[in-house]
């Protein structure tokens, strides 16, 4: 074999390995990452993950060293070796010791994992008694998230979609429901995943210690657009959160300009009104996301599109190009009507 033919496979191997490592590191940091925790629950899970990763890596390296050692030993000694028919007492004892100690270490490692996993799971399941503050109800729909902020005062209850705001440093109670099929709520930076099961309410609590935006995603296959069923959790200081909540509890702003009034008319006279609600107007259907403050959200279509005028217009005209199979039908509006409708919806801050 010539030198070049030998070096090419090696080069490829090195390149592939380098790419693997690079892809590993590129996932560090980021807004959807379980090993970049931003809250106590995620930190707990992340610690468990690192413990398992480090121990398993050490075990892997040790096993590989043992394999290589035994291979190299065999190739050097095999040629002039006489098969041993009656092993000596000494060598038998040595082998037995190796097997017993390896088994013991394995059992100890597994028990360490068992205890660590159990204690993490237990602390995740603990219900913090101090957390009877904010309670959020999340309902999974095909393929978006309905978010309802509960409150003892009924006038403070409001519904939004696909974007959850929470105050930093405060545990927030989440009750999870499924409207049609099983979904799973997973914001990796903040907590582990939990299923949303129709006819059942699951609860979990989430606390964000660092302000920021975290992305969550449905983690249980739920149909066509499962992959584009995402949400944002915005963790912000308490004052900022209070302002946001104050705004969300308000009714929608009235259409001011003529174009906005035209847009509102289109909303009421076409397909929009059959599924979407705008509080403070006759539109009250709860099949699709509540649009009372749609312009205040960062994203559209379950965190699929950035909320801009162009995206909103394209989405209304033909949602099936962005998320084929989703429940929103195409709308054959004239350009002027579409612009008026977008103008109105974008005024709903």
């Amino acid at each position: 074999m010539s030198k070049t033919t030998r070096t090419i496979p090696r080069l490829i191997l090195t390149l592939v390995l380098a790419l693997c490592f690079a892809s590993c590191f590129s996932s560090c940091g980021g807004i959807q990452n379980a090993i970049n925790p931003a809250g106590p629950n995620a930190a707990n899970i992340s610690r468990l993950w690192w413990l398992m990763f480090i121990i398993c890596s050490i075990v892997f390296v040790l096993v590989m060293i043992a394999v290589l050692l035994s291979l190299s030993k065999r190739t050097t000694e095999a040629a002039d070796r006489v098969p041993v028919l009656e092993p000596s007492e000494e060598s038998e004892r040595r082998r037995r010791n190796v097997v017993v100690s390896a088994t013991t270490i394995t059992v100890i490692v597994l028990f360490v994992f068992l205890i660590a996993s159990y204690s993490s799971g237990r602390s995740l399941g603990l219900n913090d008694p101090t957390k009877n503050g904010l309670s959020i109800e999340v309902t999974g729909h095909q393929w978006w998230w309905e978010v309802r902020y509960q409150d003892v005062d009924a006038s403070n209850i409001f519904t939004t979609a696909n974007e959850i705001h929470i105050p930093v440093g405060v545990p927030v109670m989440f009750s999870l429901r499924g409207a049609d099929v099983i979904h799973s709520f997973w914001v990796p930076n903040l907590a582990g995943k939990k299923d949303l099961i129709p006819g059942k309410i699951n609860t979990m609590w989430i606390q964000a210690d660092k302000p920021g935006v975290y992305r969550g995603q449905c983690a249980e296959y739920c149909g066509f657009q499962h992959a584009k069923m995402a949400l944002w959790v915005v963790a912000e200081p308490q004052e900022q959160f209070n302002l946001w909540r104050q705004n969300q509890t308000q009714q929608a702003v009235a259409a001011a300009s003529d174009v906005q009034k035209r847009g509102q008319q289109i909303f009421f006279s076409t397909t929009c009104v059959m599924c979407h609600a705008i509080n403070g107007t006759p539109a009250g259907s709860n099949i699709g996301p509540n649009l009372t403050h749609v312009a205040s959200r960062h994203m559209l279509a379950a965190a699929t599109l950035v909320n801009t005028r162009e995206h909103m217009a394209q989405w209304i005209k033909d949602p099936q190009t962005f998320k084929p199979g989703n429940r929103m039908p195409q709308n054959n509006l004239s350009d002027a009507d579409l612009q008026a409708l977008v103008e109105y919806l974008q005024s709903l801050k």
Binding site: S269, T270, T271, V273, M274, C275, D318, P324, G325, P329
Partner: protein
């Protein structure tokens, strides 16, 4: 000669199993269309003037040809119709087909016709005494799905197309198990 015959025999035997498998798999081919979905809206093939209530018509020319509802052929569409029937609150008046504020939909009687185009125009144009018009509010493709579902409630659809069972408890037989009722034209006004 004998050798050739035995070789032929072994060839036949060798291909028998794959052949049977192919034939068996071919049986599944017709079912492919059953769940076919179309995400972009197909052009509507119903128009309100296709609707006929009686043989009396102005002008010359025969009766309009009956219209085939494409949703009548697809189980997916009929099931979507079932979902929309609840979500658009049809059940608010017609209940689960038994009728209440609006007339029942699971019986044999039809006030405004049982043909797809009749039901289509009932939904789109509305009817006197309460049925609202959903013109422009429900896209044509979804009206067709609703039409298919409404027809399945009295067993007008094929058994393999009609919706099977509810996700929740069902107070009556599923649409698939509903016996086909021969449509009766009635002049009885809605109660």
């Amino acid at each position: 000669m004998c050798e050739i015959a035995s070789r032929n025999l072994s060839t036949t035997r060798r291909y028998r199993a794959p052949f049977c498998l192919c034939v068996f798999l071919c049986l599944f081919v017709p079912s492919c269309k059953r769940e076919q979905r179309q995400f972009s809206t197909p052009p509507a093939n119903f128009k309100s003037y296709d609707v006929t209530m009686s043989d009396l018509r102005p002008g010359v020319g025969g009766l309009p040809q009956p219209v085939q509802n494409p949703a009548d052929q697809h189980a997916f569409d009929a099931n979507e119709g079932k979902r929309l029937f609840t979500q658009y609150n049809c059940s608010g008046c017609h209940f689960n087909g038994g009728g209440g504020i609006g007339p029942p939909l699971m019986d044999a009687k039809w006030i405004y016709g049982e043909r797809p185009e009749n039901i289509y125009s009932t939904i789109v144009e509305g009817r006197p005494n309460g049925m609202p018009s959903f013109r422009q509010k429900i896209p044509d493709s979804q009206v067709q799905q609703l039409v298919a579902y409404v027809r399945s409630m009295s067993g007008q659809l094929r058994k393999d197309v009609a919706p099977t069972r509810n996700d929740s408890m069902n107070a009556r037989r599923s649409e698939q198990r509903t016996e086909r009722k021969t449509p009766l034209q009635t002049t009885e006004p809605p109660q």
